[in-house]
Symmetry: C2
């Protein structure tokens, strides 16, 4: 059983542990999760970043997602982070988090959701996940993150209003 | 004759006037220029955004550029804004600004410079400019900004270390 809810102050250390333990994020990326979480938890007027968590029936955190409106767009949103603890992967927690993100976006007139990820082998599961959940691979920018580490951009369109080229 | 230098407090209103008068930026985009310029001018520890201006021999502002390191990358930089006043367009001010950006980036071990722009007709000159100055068109994300307004991503690679797919 999954419980999905907005992140709270008490989730902070479990969220950061999950981000570290998953083993694919750099120290700078974990620091970025921390920074955005801090904005979400402590700046009530913030509408840029929303964090939700997925817990099991014992209130143990299995994963989290962070999303928000893409600046300077109308109706485009970014899935900034989607992370499921290694021990919980492959059991549906990621799909449950994504479903909740999409449910919320549907009330905000969202047209599309963007997910940026890496081309490296450690992100194979992430890319498979997006491809199995309706995202279209729209772009590859070679060596974007560092040499040999390309940016892959996925987009999921929510209506028939748009489609990728 | 062009004078290129770092932006100063006294340039603020001319920069915002240039951003408004060029006629392609939305109110939200002009507000974004203002926000980043404020960070550059008033947060001396900021290394995220650098503004340079191009003036004529009478110290009249012709255009400006804003650039900085792309978060979570190593050696990738973003050309966040490049704007030349309508009356000064086609005379080399944009090229002079870009040349100065690249000169500075070359001292920072930059590998690549990213420029994001729009697919709409009002951005035809911008896209032509990038294509004539060594940028490669890497991506198109349909309807990204709004319906019918796609995101076009350009990248300029500075060495033989990388190339676009």
């Amino acid at each position: 059983m999954f419980v999905i809810r907005k992140a709270e102050e008490r989730d902070q250390s479990a969220i950061l542990s999950a981000a570290k333990d998953v083993g694919v994020f750099t120290a700078a990326e974990v620091a970025c999760v921390d920074e955005l979480l801090d904005i979400f938890l402590h700046q009530p007027d913030n509408h840029d970043y929303t964090f939700i968590v997925c817990s099991d029936e014992h209130d143990r955190l299995l994963g989290f997602a962070c999303y928000g409106p893409t600046p300077l767009t109308e109706g485009t949103y970014d899935l900034y982070w989607l992370c499921v603890s290694k021990s919980a992967q492959g059991k549906g927690a990621g799909a449950a988090l994504l479903e909740q993100v999409e449910k919320e976006l549907s009330t905000w007139s969202a047209r599309m959701l963007i997910a940026e990820t890496s081309s490296t082998p450690s992100y194979d599961p992430a890319r498979s996940f997006y491809e199995h959940h309706g995202f279209l691979r729209c772009a590859c920018i070679r060596d974007f993150y560092r040499l040999g580490d390309d940016l892959i951009i996925y987009a999921k369109y929510f209506t028939n209003q748009g489609s990728t080229s």
